[in-house]
Amino acid sequence: MIDNTFERKRLLAQLREERIARRKLLKAFGSAGLAAAALPLLGRGAFADEAGKQAGPGGLALARPDRPVTLPLYEDPIKSGLAPETGGTFRVFNYQDYIDKNLLTSFGKLYNVDVELTTFDSMDQCITRLATHGVAPDVSDITPDRLDQCVAGKLIKPINKDYIPNLKANIWPSLHSPFYDVGSQYGVPYTIYKTGIGWRDDKISEDIPNLANPWSIFWNSQKYSGYVGVLDDARESLSMAMCYRGQYDVNTEDPAQIDAALNDLKALIPICNPKINITEYQTLPQGNMWLHQSWSGDLLGAYVFYLPKGDDGSHLRFWGAPKGKGPIQNDTFAICSTTTKPVLAHLFLNYILDKDVAYGNFINFTGYQPPQVSITGDSLLASKAIPQNLKNVILTSDDAGPGSMQEMTLTPKGQALWQSAYARFNSGT
């Protein structure tokens, strides 16, 4: 007897690896009596385009900043004008320390529900727990590169934007209809950040922003050996090496380009003996690290929460590459298919986009900027929320959208190439 689930997954995997054509796939599904089960996964015309672009999870097209994707709708959003559910528990699923619990409590009081925060360590863990029903949250943080996966696997529900007026009112225009989810059918932007260079100017003598190639500082950091760090993330670390070489397609699946990036990363080991971690928000302000590939949000976190006593943080610096020359990433919030409070889930999405709520969450807790129109470098400087030396940590609407560089979903083959390369860097071989 054929194991239908296994067979269905095998056929879909073959499709994704482009070993069989779509017509052949449908024939194969038909012969296995699986067409009915498989068709919902294939979506409404959401296959990879005719130009031979590779398909992502469930056969969905891979979104890129210059190649927007409309995600398929498997169900209709809830109707407008419904009353929010009250009582019981509203469950939020997010990274640890990535949302202020006081705001959750306030939301609970507002709508007479208990709000429970469940956390995950990584987006992989988030997806696995959602997919295996290890958790049943109402809303979850999802990164854009996993949104297609969640849609294909029906882990999230489409949203009705009538309940979320703050999206248009408060959020950057460039993210009203982002390339990874045209029409914002599934998620709303939560935070935005650049991947750049964080350093201490009391330890690093070079004028990094004015170097011909600022990324090259890592490859010229012999004198800072032992105080240099690279992000513990396959995509980020290899992307940095690509940017260093002026290779700005950080979604490449070309083995030669990935190998070249790996060789450049490996070259760092004898140069500066880099540490691989994501604790720069702590180690930079405390002086254990002097130069670290950094997420922009971590520099603000460092300034707000981790400065040693008596330190004004004036030596902390950040450089992010101009648009298209360095990665910019964002997080979204989406409504999970397990929600028992869909109306309230919509209201929660609207709540976190409220300008005061978003500002409070940013300044008092996460350090990660929400893409709010009202939050600008000048306004934060004027209110003394950030120091002059970290003004460039704050991004603008123009930084996102077409022409930007964002690490997005790869095919499994591409992911395997990146992961294997990173494993080799990590092992020092």
Partner: protein
């Protein structure tokens, strides 16, 4: 008289434990190593049926252990760290266990408590404490500078293999001493007395009686600490965080942590299990031999 089934019943919890917490998970690892991944979620899809096993990924991974290939160096490094740590643990732990077993009289209870004391603090916390101790402004460097032993102390936490090995020794030594102590306690003291009566010096008695009789204890304790050391990934992560000191466990962590290659992580785990299985078989053969040598 007791019914025949009574004593076997006592084994049920142990058998259940072994089945549920070792054999089933281990078979799951085998299933993942020879299985596939979910095309949407990239999560492992174990192949439970051996007829569906796909050996491609595991064979590719195995080839990675050939000299010059991707896992060769990290495997050698791991084996080196474990061998040095194990030898050091034995050199430090054996005398401690010997002293407590043979010479501690009234203080034996207190010494045992002191041995168990490290277990009161989690391994992770103990490692983090080491980070503070060995940091450039930590007590170790301050002492070295103050005492003049090393005016320019080494950079302990900067991809220094010595620090990782020291941390492994520190973390695992209690697990070695306790079973070793039990083995030494079991040695019949009259055998030692007989050796002394026959004119053996204390050293000869130790090398010809105590040490051979504690061989199974040494092997058992070594196996107990060598197995987790081989798979350790958080000690090098916390103490060093450098590619220079990365161990095989770190590679397993990368492939299991997410992405489309859990089968590689599982294959690495299986390789490690087979390698450790060889050591385990040697241990079991030695035990069997030792038991045969016991006069009935």
């Amino acid at each position: 008289m007791y019914p025949k089934w009574l004593w076997p019943v006592f084994a049920i919890p142990g058998v259940f434990w072994l089945l549920m917490l070792f054999l089933v998970p281990f078979y799951a690892v085998i299933g993942v190593a020879f299985g596939g991944v979910d095309p949407i979620f990239q999560s492992p899809v174990p192949a439970w049926n051996p007829l569906q096993w796909n050996f491609d990924s595991a064979l590719n991974t195995l080839q990675g252990f050939l000299p010059g290939r991707e896992y060769w160096q990290v495997f050698l490094r791991t084996a080196e760290y474990v061998a040095i740590s194990l030898a050091s643990c034995l050199l430090i732990g054996y005398p401690v266990a010997y002293y407590i077993s043979r010479h501690a009289k009234k203080t034996k209870g207190i010494l045992l408590v002191l041995l168990i004391l490290p277990f009161w603090v989690s391994y992770l916390m103990r490692m983090l404490a080491w980070v503070n101790l060995f940091s450039p402004d930590g007590y170790i460097d301050k002492f070295l500078i103050w005492s003049g032993i090393a005016p320019h102390p080494p950079d302990w936490l900067n991809g220094n293999p010595v620090s990782v090995i020291l941390a492994l020794i520190y973390g695992y030594i209690p697990y070695l001493i306790l079973p070793l102590l039990a083995a030494l306690d079991r040695i019949d003291k009259s055998l030692l007395e007989a050796a002394r009566d026959l004119g053996a010096s204390p050293f000869r008695a130790f090398f010809h009686v105590t040490l051979p009789l504690s061989k199974t204890g040494i092997l058992g304790a070594s196996v107990i600490i060598a197995l987790p050391m081989f798979g350790d990934y958080y000690t090098p992560n916390i103490i060093s965080g450098s590619p220079r000191t990365s161990m095989l466990g770190n590679q397993i962590d990368i492939f299991f942590h997410g992405g489309p290659q859990p089968s590689v992580g599982a294959a690495l785990t299986l390789f490690l299990s087979v390698f450790l299985g060889i050591l385990m078989i040697y241990y079991m053969v030695t035990i069997a031999k030792a038991q045969k040598e016991i006069p009935s």
